[in-house]
Amino acid sequence: MPRCPPIFAASGKRQVTDMARMTMIEAVRSAMDVSMERDGDVVVFGEDVGYFGGVFRCTQGLQAKYGKTRCFDAPISESGIVGTAIGMAAYGLKPCVEIQFADYMYPAYDQITQEAARIRYRSNGDFTCPIVLRMPTGGGIFGGQTHSQSPEALFTHVCGLKVVVPSNPYDAKGLLIASIEDPDPVMFLEPKRLYNGPFDGHHEKPVTPWSKHELGEVPDGHYSIPIGKAEVRRQGSAVTVITYGTMVHVALAAAEEMGIDAEVIDLRSLLPLDLDTIVQSVTKTGRCVMVHEATLTSGFGAEVVALVQEHCFYHLEAPVVRVTGWDTPYPHAQEWDYFPGPGRVGRALAEVMEA
């Protein structure tokens, strides 16, 4: 007998049992709640995280439920937050800390890249670093240059880290639980524009709430989704769109609107990367569009595209195209000219189909 009811039937289809409707915020909170309940070594802290429950309310109620020593406010010092989390992990705890915005992680970059990422390696396993850094990421909220960044490539370039970007409440909970249970450091980037609904880039229209979306159905209890497995969100045979986070929903909208038979892959985990799913799809379609919000040059798309040409070159019928944020700081007033919306993604799909 499995300890928990299976989420996936043998067919791979989700079984709907015991489901609650959750926003992504509630799903993330539920993941921490379930983890803290099951494991007394899980602690949660960060700026405004304790009494108030975080600026996005992801940790609301955790301090009241688990006490001040397991969920607490931290000084405004990201290097301090990550540095103390590393020390706690060396002791044997499993800290799941919040960096208020991904844009604020830079003061902790030394701790992340030279410490957390390498402690297992440099000590030959004498010490390890099972920490999770949760950080709201991406644009679409008029946050300007310091509340809109997508720094995932700065993490995928660092050996020793895992990098996860969920695109919906169901995945967010399962992947966050897996991240907390993972024996290595995990950067958990939460696309903040998705917190309350599957934003498809049509900013002029109201967003459907998660309560009306299939992936807003989230089990109350414990389940986990393996890190390193992509999910095909839309089956198609004409072109493969590889993406993650907010852009999953933008790509799905673009495919529908253009009437193109696109296969949309939600990577979910950038490191480790599910190369098999990518290769299988591109080999089938022969065409590929890579989409992300982050800037173009040396972005994660560059890595994916290099892998696609390495593994699928003789199946390609068109040059691979990238749709990304521009190579500029994230602007404020021109948000929707910067954000790669369904229009740009749709044009890229058409371009690849015509090539």
């Binding site: 540095g83 020390g87 440099r122 000590s123 050996c159």
Partner: protein, 410 residues
């Protein structure tokens, strides 16, 4: 036109440069035994003076005097002396091994042996140090096998770290020695986190953070003090002020603050300054701080005033930036000679026994080196496998690293 003069930038300079006469007249040194010993639950604001003075126990005649004296038995002091002598002999052999090409790099402790050797005595099994590269006395004084240290230095087939780390960047959880990083100050705030975890779990263990004078300028040092102060973490915050950060004198990191210990005062952390070349004083102050931590009274900041007699590392040449005779002029003397003198004054040691002990220790170090060299040195004999490059990046090797390992032929 302005009523004020034009601005000019102040760039501090050490008192003397090469060719000059060493001068430490600016280093104010309290008389041994003169600094009071407060109760461990004292409020930091009541002992502000201790951040500006120097706690000393051994006087110039080799006697232990004052309120910080009398904590160690003769036997313990003799062990302390042997530990410092062993560290010094170990350093001398490894420096020689580096010159012989058996390793790429080495960092010695010459003149600073008392700091880590005496401190170790204040900790218990299970406590955790977050050291820098100049605290190997923590391992020596805890009887970590010298052969293991040498295996790491030689990056040989028995290197516990499999050739991944620069020489002397040891790691031993069992001996309370966190893996050394090599970049600076990061470990300081990690120590505070470890101590917070011990408090979160209602444990009894404490942590010790280590940093040098130069690296106190890093933001992680200040982050560590904020977190330690806010959460009253059971941690001892050690600053080893050996006067020199490679070629940069301590005034560049210290700035206008009178002492490094004084950095603790703004955070409400009790801060003490101690003679780092006085084994008895180092132990007494460490023990005071450890007791505070164990009683849940929170952190203590300690500045050890010492002098880096040797070069920063084997890649450094101090004659380019400080007078060659500066170490001889250092007013706090040599930690080994001072403890030796004290034990002779007490009648439990002698010049003859010292010479004999030196020979025994040297033999012990040489035997360890022979054993280590059987397993290879950096460019000769047994080596870690190329496979070891790829292992241990993650708990479980991801597919992309496996592919790269295969590409490398392993």
């Amino acid at each position: 036109m302005t009523e004020f003069p034009l601005l000019s930038l102040h760039v501090p300079e050490p008192a003397v440069r090469p060719g000059g006469q060493p001068d430490f007249s600016n280093v104010k040194i309290a008389k041994a035994g003169a600094v009071p010993r407060p109760e461990v639950d004292v409020a930091s604001e009541e002992i502000r003076d201790l951040a500006y003075s120097i706690i000393r126990v051994l006087n110039r005649d080799g006697e232990a005097v004052g309120p910080w004296a009398g904590l160690l038995s003769d036997e313990e002091l003799l062990t302390g002396l042997r530990n410092m002598m062993k560290l010094r002999a170990f350093d001398a052999r490894m420096l020689m091994a580096q010159r012989q090409g058996k390793t790429s790099f080495y960092m010695q402790h010459l003149g600073e042996e008392a700091v880590s050797c005496a401190f170790r005595k204040a900790l218990r099994k299970g406590d955790m140090n977050f050291p820098t590269y100049r605290q190997a006395g923590l391992l020596i004084a805890d009887d970590y096998p010298m052969v293991e240290m040498m295996n790491q230095i030689f990056s040989n087939e028995s290197d516990p770290l499999r050739g991944r780390q620069l020489p002397i960047m040891y790691s031993s959880k069992e001996h309370g020695f966190f893996t050394i990083s090599g970049n600076l100050a990061t470990q300081y705030v990690q120590a505070v986190g470890w101590a917070m975890a011990s408090a979160i779990k209602n444990d009894t263990k404490i942590a010790a953070a280590w940093i040098g004078d130069g690296s106190t300028a890093e933001s992680d040092f200040h982050s560590a003090l904020v977190f330690a102060s806010t959460y009253k973490a059971p941690v001892i915050l050690n600053i080893v002020n050996n006067q020199w950060a490679i070629s940069t004198f301590q005034g560049i990191a210290r700035g206008g603050s009178g002492t490094f210990a004084a950095r603790g005062l703004g955070f409400g952390i009790p801060a003490l300054r101690v003679d780092g070349n006085d084994y008895l004083a180092v132990y007494a102050v460490s023990r005071w701080a450890a007791e505070r931590a164990r009683r849940n009274l929170g952190p203590t900041l300690i500045e050890y005033v010492t002098y880096r007699v040797g070069a920063h590392s084997t890649s450094d040449d101090p004659s380019a930036y400080r007078p060659k005779t500066e170490s001889e002029a250092w007013p706090l003397g040599d930690p080994v000679l001072r403890l030796k003198k004290h034990l002779i004054v007490k009648g439990v040691w002698s010049e003859e026994r010292h010479v004999q002990a030196e020979a025994e220790i040297l033999d012990e170090v040489i035997q360890a080196q022979k054993q280590a060299e059987v397993h290879g040195t950096l460019h000769a004999g047994g080596k870690p496998s190329v496979r070891d490059i790829f292992e241990g990046v993650y708990a479980e090797m991801p597919a992309h690293i496996r592919r790269q390992r295969q590409k490398a032929g392993y």
